[in-house]
C-alpha cells in the first residue's frame, strides 16, 4: 500500500490566446483566457492512480488557486482520485513559486502519511519547474525531476528512469519522494462515466457560498454538512485553516516582484518582400550568394 499526493494546477491555455484576451495597453486579461488542467499534472495523477491500482493505497489531489480551480479537482475525481483539496484564499494572490511551495508543503505536512508526491514537471503558464523541487526541499525529502518512467517499486524503494541532458539515468530512491513527471510518462485515463455522475455536482466552499448568496433560504453551514454527507464537498483550505504565517503567503511571501511589464513592440519591420515565384526566389538566392551568406 502506498499513499500518493498529487499537485495539480489549473492554467490559462496560453497556446490558445485569442485577440480579446489582450487589453489595449498590451496587458493580459486572465479572466478571459480559457482555463485548463495542466497536462503534465494530469500525467502525474495517472502515475499515482497506477501505483494505487497495482499496490493499493490512496490518491489525494491538491491544488492552490482561485475558486474556479475546483474545476480540475472535479476532473481529478472523475479519473479516480480518492480525496481532493482546494487551497484557496485571497491572501494567496500574487504568490511566486517560493510562496506557493510554502503553502503546498505546509498543507502536505498537515495531510501527512504519504509515500509519494507526484507533480507535473512544469506548468505551461510559467514553465518554471520550480514548485516541485521547492516543495520537496521544504519537506526535507528527496526528489526525482524529469521522471519518464516508474520502473520498479518494492521494499519501500522506487526505481525511476529520468531524463538528463543528453540521455537518461535510472535512480533508486527511498520513500517518501517527490517526482515531477514528463508528459510521456503515462497516458492519462479517460473519465469514468460512473464517477462523472457521482461527482459532477461536487462543490467547494466558495461554490456553495455562491449558491447561498442567491438564495435566502439556504445556510452555508447546513449546505456544507449536506454536501459532506453526500460525499460531494470539496474540502477548501484557507490560510487560517492551515494556520500559515501570513508573511510567507501570497505577495508578502514572494521575494520576486514584477517591476515592469512591457507589451511586445515589434521593431521597424523593414523587410524586403520576395515574390513566391521561381524568378523571385532565384533573385533572393543570388543576392545571398553575393553577400556570402551561402557557400
Amino acid at each position: 500500500m502506498y499513499n500518493s499526493i498529487v499537485l495539480v494546477k489549473q492554467v490559462p491555455d496560453t497556446a490558445n490566446i485569442s485577440g480579446n484576451v489582450m487589453r489595449e495597453d498590451g496587458t493580459v486579461n486572465r479572466a478571459k483566457l480559457p482555463a485548463i488542467f495542466n497536462h503534465e499534472d494530469r500525467v502525474a495523477l495517472e502515475l499515482a492512480l497506477q501505483v494505487k491500482d497495482k499496490f493499493g493505497g490512496t490518491v489525494t489531489a491538491l491544488t492552490m488557486g482561485p475558486p474556479r480551480a475546483s474545476d480540475i479537482l472535479r476532473e481529478c475525481l472523475y479519473m479516480g482520485t480518492d480525496r481532493v483539496y482546494l487551497i484557496s484564499d485571497r491572501k494567496f494572490a500574487g504568490a511566486d513559486t517560493l510562496a506557493t511551495s510554502y503553502v503546498l508543503s505546509e498543507t502536505i505536512r498537515k495531510i501527512g502519511n504519504y509515500d509519494f508526491i507526484f507533480a507535473g514537471r512544469q506548468a505551461i503558464d510559467g514553465d518554471t519547474a520550480q514548485v516541485g523541487p521547492q516543495t520537496a526541499e521544504k519537506l526535507g525529502i528527496p526528489q526525482i525531476t524529469y521522471a519518464e518512467e516508474l520502473i520498479d517499486l518494492h521494499d519501500g524503494k522506487v526505481r525511476v528512469k529520468r531524463k538528463i541532458d543528453g540521455g537518461f539515468e535510472i535512480l533508486e530512491s527511498s520513500l517518501p519522494v517527490l517526482l515531477t513527471v514528463m508528459k510521456d510518462a503515462a497516458v492519462p485515463r479517460p473519465y469514468s462515466a460512473k464517477r462523472i455522475m457521482a461527482f459532477k455536482s461536487a462543490k467547494s466552499l466558495m461554490e456553495l457560498e455562491k449558491l447561498v448568496e442567491g438564495n435566502s433560504l439556504l445556510y452555508i453551514d447546513k449546505l456544507v454538512d449536506e454536501y459532506k454527507s453526500r460525499s460531494l464537498y470539496i474540502p477548501t483550505l484557507t490560510m487560517d485553516d492551515l494556520r500559515l504565517d501570513a508573511d510567507r503567503c501570497g505577495i508578502n511571501g514572494s521575494p520576486t516582484k514584477v517591476y515592469k511589464i512591457e507589451s511586445v513592440v515589434l521593431a521597424g519591420g523593414e523587410h524586403t518582400l520576395i515574390e513566391p515565384t521561381k524568378a523571385g526566389l532565384s533573385a533572393l538566392i543570388g543576392k545571398l550568394m553575393e553577400d556570402h551568406i551561402f557557400g
Binding site: E137, E169, L266
Partner: protein
Amino acid sequence: MSTFANEVWVFVEQRDGKPADVSFELLSKGHKLAAGMNGLLKSVVMGDGVKDIASETFRFGADECLLIDHPDLKNYKTLPYSRILIELVRKYTPRIVLFGATVIGRDLAPRVASNTRSGMTADCTDLQISDVEYLRTKYQNLLLQIRPAFGGNIIATIITPNNPTQMATVREGVMEMHPVERQREMKITEIPYVPVDSDKLVTIIEQYREESKVNLKAAPIIVSGGYGLGTKQNFQLIHDLAHAIGGEVAGSRAAVDAGFIPPERQVGQTGVTVRPKLYIAVGISGAIQHRAGMQEAKKIIAINSDPDAPIFQVSHYGIVGDAMDILPKFIEAYKNKLK
C-alpha cells in the same frame, strides 16, 4: 545595505567531468554583472577531479573559485549538491547566483532558493544591474531579471528587492561566451566535503549519455519549421531544404510539441538561442519566445502564409505564401544557381 556579500556566483556544471558551455557563458555575463556592481565573480565547481575546470573558470573572468572535489560528487545528485550549495549560500550570502537552465540547473537551483528563501526567476533572456525605485523605495544595484511571460505577449522585468540573494537560470546560448583579456591570478578555495546520511537516499543505478550530435549554436545556416507546416510529412520539406543548402534543421516550440522534431532542436526562450549567418523560418508565426532565440541571426528569411505574422517584423526577407509550394521551388532555384 551592504550586509550582503557583493558577489556574483555561477554554479559551474559538469557532466562526465566536462564543463557545460552554458556555465562559461554565464561566467562571461557574471563578469559584467559583477563589474556593474563593483563586486566579485566567483565560480562554484563540484565534482571528482575537477581542478582543471576550476582553473578554466578564470579564463572567463572568475575572481575566485569555490571548489568541492570528492569522489562522491563525481555525478550530479540532487541531495549532496543542493545541501553543499545551500550551506555555502547560507554562509557567504552572495548577492546573485546564476545557473544554466539545464536539467541539472533546474533540479538544483529551486532547492537552494527554497531553503535560503531567495528570489528565483527561470529562463531569463537578459540580466542587468540597475538602481531601481520600487514602491517608493530606492534600491541600489538590483538584478533585473528579464524574460518573456504569458504566452510571449509581454516582457516582464522581475526584481528581488528585499531578499539577500537573487537567483536566475538562463538557457544555453542566450549569453555569449567571452574569455577575458587579462585573467585574474587564480584563487581556488577548496571546501571539504563532509558526507551526511541523507546524501545517500537516492542512488544512481545506471546512466546513459551520448554527445549530442546536434549543435545548432555552431550551425551557420538553420532552416526552422513551425506548427504552420501542419503535419510531420510536410515537415520533411524542412529537412529537404536544409539538406539542399547545407543547413541544420530546427523548429519552434509548437513544432516540438506537435512531435515534428525532437526537443534538442528547439529554438527559442525555452530551447536554444542561435546566431547563424542565415535563419529561414517556415510556418513560424514568430511569438516572442521564438524570436528571443533567433533574432540576432545575420539574415532572416520568413516564409508564412499569413502576411501579418509577427515573424516578418524581424525578418530581412519575407515570402508570403504556402510553404508546400515555395520550398520545392526554393530548392530547385538553389540547385540551378549552383550549376
